[in-house]
Symmetry: C2
Subunit: 310 residues, 2 copies
């Protein structure tokens, strides 16, 4: 099997395992001192987190952790925690007060399938559950590792990470105080994206190093790889918005240009952006070189992110 | 100084210290790998969490922790984490899609002072920050203690705790699927309240035992005291809604009756509820008896909760 086929195979397996794990974590037999399980809240949290999504973030956790021989079930737990954060962010971002999206992956968004109040609470519940999962002994026997995981996840998700990036994005759209669309420069766009989408992707890679008690040099390598994957992810997304086939992509394209939104593709042009993508993928490869063949699937993953047409 | 005066004194001191700590934690010098600090988000998080509130939950953490000789600054950190969760819950509960409140403690709510999107993100940011704070070495030198704190806070706040209780409360109000107001029985009301408001108050007490590495018997005592305080808090709140002076209480009274909401006061009557309150305060006292005079301020705190007229 070549690296690309192996990547697809492993991604599919992680997706399957993550779904089974989240189904258990959000199942009727949830462990711990809960004194009640409101059905509507549980249903909406399950709706928001099960059955869809490529589970690319958990894949990154599992593969990066495997570089250090981490137990796969532990890595899947950390991946499930991360996926709870990712899914909560989609639920809140879709709300009428935020991006006001009715559909996600072709299905009604949580506030359409339920209602706005339930969607707010489902997001809150998933974010909270993420830290519960990360803190469980099942995630790693060493409490020092678990608490480091909790803190890294909180940093990637909060004010200085994903939530902060979403705020910068709304501000750039001119959403506040009668503002107008901001023409961000390249550095500002990269900061915004590094926070909004990059921070969680980078956390996914770093989580592997945390679970594996990696050395400082190994952690730097994962950090560099994670940052590259985040940047590749975003440029590929921008390119899809310009060049993608709406039927294939599954959502409206040309949205950025229509909204007057500043993107890397807008600044560098299509060819410039593609050249940048190649540089980023090379950087991702270079970062993982010290791990040798063990990192082939992760490198294939970075290429997949850069080349994706959906 | 008698126990009541001492209680007021300590409560005021904890409020002052918690405010200073949150001001630092949400200040420009926030430690850690943040790559950006969107001003509007930071402003809204500060607006939501600074300068108001009695800080009764942090008081409980500090006093319960002091029973075991825990460093006060560590207890204040755990109290600050808890207060972030409490404040986020108020921001989200006030949203138009939830309780739609324009005022809180006489000030515009976050979505009125800013906007709905900012309020959602400010809540998300505070909830995330809570786990960041709980996980910091400053909160306790032992990572096993910190991770236990994280997990207990997540359990108290999530699906089986506060968020779940809020969902039960909205459902009881007949908010979903064209429902009507539910006439809950006593057991259902107690479960709802134990989740919605009781879980965080109980966590506050348990946090003291976690930080202090208390024995199982000591933890049971704190748990029993915390449960009693939560129940007393809720019945006192219900009584205020029936008997309180709106000018003094600072909000509209008679809301429960108007909404047809089932309460313990509605079921037991005013005299019955007051008798129940006395039983609960006795139980809180009995629970802490093994700690002797060291627990006098906590017992005064339980009495304060039961007797409060604001």
């Amino acid at each position: 099997m070549n690296a690309t086929a192996q990547f697809q195979d492993r991604l599919n397996q992680v997706a399957k395992d993550t779904d089974a794990l989240l189904d258990r974590l959000l199942g009727p037999a949830l462990a711990g001192g809960e004194i009640g399980r409101p059905a509507r809240l549980l249903d909406s949290m399950r709706y928001a987190s099960l059955g869809a999504g490529k589970r690319f973030r958990p894949f990154l956790v599992v593969e990066c952790a495997s570089l250090f021989g981490v137990d796969r079930n532990q890595a899947l737990m950390a991946g499930a925690a991360l996926e709870c954060v990712h899914c909560y962010s989609l639920v809140h971002d879709d709300l009428p007060a935020m991006d006001n999206d009715d559909l996600r992956r072709g299905q009604p968004t949580v506030h359409k399938a339920f209602d706005d109040a339930t969607a707010i609470l489902a997001g809150d519940g998933l974010l909270t559950l993420a830290f519960d999962i990360a803190a469980r002994a099942e995630t790693h026997p060493d409490p020092a590792v678990r608490v480091e995981l909790v803190q890294a996840l909180a940093r990637a998700s909060g004010l200085g990470g994903m939530v902060g990036g979403q705020m910068l994005d709304l501000a750039a759209e001119g959403r506040f105080d009668g503002g107008t669309v901001q023409r961000l420069g390249e550095k500002q766009i990269l900061t915004l994206q590094a926070m909004k989408t990059g921070a969680l992707l980078k956390f996914a890679c770093n989580a592997g190093g945390i679970l594996g008690k990696a050395t400082a040099a190994q952690r730097d390598a994962l950090d560099r790889y994670g940052a590259a994957v985040g940047q590749a992810f975003q440029i590929a997304d921008d390119l899809l918005d310009v060049e993608g086939d709406p039927a294939l992509v599954g959502k409206q394209t040309g949205k950025d240009a229509e909204a007057g939104k500043a993107t890397i593709v807008g600044i560098l042009g299509i060819d410039g952006a593609k050249a940048r993508l190649r540089t980023i993928v090379s950087d991702a490869e270079a970062a993982l070189r010290p791990f040798g063949k063990a990192a082939d699937v992760l490198i294939a993953g970075a290429k997949f992110v850069a080349d994706r047409n959906v």
